[in-house]
């Protein structure tokens, strides 16, 4: 069941999707049982940016047909705040003597320069085992632009790659014409792994209710669709990417069960991440890992 990924030894193949599990808040809610029963084999932290961000105005959520649209807008304390305030608390939960899983820090920047500074800073912290570069967030213009054009993506990743010796995972955008070309570009530029899919661009209007202002529901205007609705899109994209690249693939999108995870692994994913399903069931990842074990799939 143990699996090797970019030099990390993981107890099983199921992680969290970035931005879908806040261990600091979860510890407040669940106490130290979180540490003992930690459901993920590695912890991916929420996307951080160079400067602090408040995120989008509410409403930030809309439940769609078999899915969830979020328009969170990447709230975070910025690089400094993350390293000074969040990192120590995260490591207390994920680190030695506690859950003991590797920490993957997810970062996003709108220029190679910004990303370089993020990577360098992460590189200097030994508690960070690997870095995931988010080039795919649909809520922030720059993230989209970098990630959806293979050439630009290759350029940026090549420019930033030397700034860290840690494994670099590039999280691709699904909102692109041919995700396999983007994956190949990331690989060519030196990514150690790719992860996908992020959310599909989507939007919702306010319910036709005279007590509510009409128009866009989400404070951010548009958002990203996750959950079961995107599962078969994720399967196609992960399959297309895994068929083309040599580097390991982290597959995600609508995974709710071990069978869903197994499908992603069958088409070539090395690891599987769980996002929206953790909202329904915070220990979903443990259940899925257990199921994979029972299926003999991992």
């Amino acid at each position: 069941m143990s699996v090797e990924f970019c030099g990390l030894q993981l107890a099983h193949p199921v992680l969290n999707g970035s931005g879908t599990f806040d261990v600091i808040a979860a510890r407040r809610a669940f106490g130290d049982q979180l540490l003992r029963d930690f459901p993920f084999s590695a912890y991916v932290s929420k996307t951080i940016t160079l400067e602090p961000r408040q995120g989008n105005p509410p409403p930030r959520l809309w439940e769609a047909s078999a899915g969830l649209i979020n328009s969170i807008g990447l709230p975070n304390k910025g690089l400094e705040g993350y390293l000074a305030e969040d990192l120590p608390q995260i490591v207390e939960i994920t680190g030695a003597g506690a859950a003991e899983v590797p920490l993957i820090t997810n970062v996003m920047g709108s220029t190679a320069e910004e990303i370089s500074r993020l990577l360098e800073a992460c590189d200097a912290h030994e508690q960070i085992a690997a870095i995931e570069l988010n080039v795919s967030c649909p809520n922030v213009k720059t993230g989209l632009d970098i990630g959806s054009d293979p050439r630009q993506l290759e350029e940026v990743v090549r420019a930033v790659r030397p700034r860290t010796r840690k494994p670099l995972i590039v999280k691709l955008t699904p909102n692109t014409a041919d995700v396999a070309l983007c994956a190949l570009a990331a690989q060519e530029a030196g990514a150690d792994a790719v992860s996908l899919i992020n959310t599909l661009r989507a939007t919702a209007l306010a319910p036709r209710d005279p007590t509510l202002p009409a128009g866009r529901w989400l404070g951010g205007g548009t958002g990203g669709l996750s959950g079961p609705a995107i599962r078969v899109v994720a399967l196609a994209q992960v399959a297309a990417v895994a068929a083309r690249v040599e580097v390991p693939v982290v597959g995600m999108g609508g995974v709710q069960s071990a069978a869903d995870a197994c499908d992603l692994m069958d088409v070539g994913a090395t690891l599987v991440a769980v996002g929206t399903e953790s909202f329904r069931d915070p220990v979903a990842a443990a259940r899925i890992a257990e199921g994979l074990r029972a299926m003999g799939a991992a």
Partner: protein, 271 residues
């Protein structure tokens, strides 16, 4: 704050009682942690809910714990959409997933201040368990849209009621009652839960009178435990609070105003 077991628990429904326009869902939970008043749980029905086999409801829904009694947890429900509708269909013996208790509850009154409980619509729920646990005399002021909803007042002891249509009690807003009550006792502390418009009224009144107030807020929630950052309300001075982990009970002083659009509408705005 009471912490939740780290996993949703499969509980069994013991009954669903009518209470005017509302339903009281009773669930056997003898081993569950004792909730603090104001805490909530994320609920979803075992069958006919979400994702694997059904479309909406997909995510669990947040409900205040309205009462604990004899190993049962009680929830007050108003059918306003697919989730609450499904829960209102439950029968004794049915399975219910519950994650909780979650969030920060009400803090006990300081310095012997008398508590005034102000509730609106289905938002009266957390005030019931609060009243159960408060020592000393309290005033209970509840507002409803009309008569069938006002029957919900039976959940609390000695409630004074206002109704929008004048069919029960004071013809007008529950905040009218609050203004009068604060004139009688300006040294009180206010505990309020209800629709955003009512909470904003309570907040403004208490701010003007320098009265401390704790407001139990609502917001659309995907997770209930701080994971999604979806349930935010604007904080005084900028930035946002996550209602699920920074609240749902928030000191009125932390808020500039309670924004009707930001908070998820609840079923029964009394105004």
């Amino acid at each position: 704050m009471s912490q939740a077991p780290f996993a949703r628990r499969l509980l069994t429904v013991t009954g669903l009682d009518e209470l005017g326009a509302y339903r009281v869902l009773r669930v056997a939970d003898p081993d569950g942690p004792e909730p603090e008043p104001g805490q909530f749980a994320m609920l979803s029905a075992l069958e006919g809910w979400g994702g694997g086999e059904h479309e909406r409801p997909l995510l669990a829904r947040a409900f205040s714990i309205a009462r604990r009694s004899g190993g049962e947890s009680h929830f007050l429900l108003e059918d306003v959409g697919p989730g609450t509708q499904r829960l209102c269909e439950l029968r004794a013996g049915d399975g219910l997933w519950a994650l909780g208790p979650l969030g920060r509850g009400f803090a006990a009154p300081e310095g012997g201040r008398r508590a005034i409980l102000v509730g609106g619509g289905v938002g009266i729920a957390p005030l019931a368990i609060l009243q159960d646990q408060l020592e000393g005399p309290t005033s209970v002021l509840l507002g409803f849209r009309e008569r069938s909803r006002a029957q919900g007042a039976a959940l609390l002891d000695g409630a004074r009621v206002a109704s929008d249509d004048g069919s029960v009690g004071h013809h007008g807003l529950v905040t009218d009652l609050l203004v009068a009550e604060l004139q009688r006792d300006p040294e009180a502390v206010v505990y309020a839960c209800g629709p955003a418009g009512m909470l904003e009224g309570v907040r403004a009144i208490c701010e003007r009178g320098g009265v401390p107030a704790q407001l139990a807020l609502e917001a659309g929630m995907a997770c209930g435990f701080g994971a999604c950052f979806g349930c935010v309300v604007p904080k005084r001075g900028g930035g946002y609070l996550r209602v699920c982990v920074d609240g749902p009970v928030i000191d009125a002083a932390e808020l500039e105003r309670v924004d009707a659009h930001a908070a998820a509408p609840i079923g029964d705005p009394p105004a």
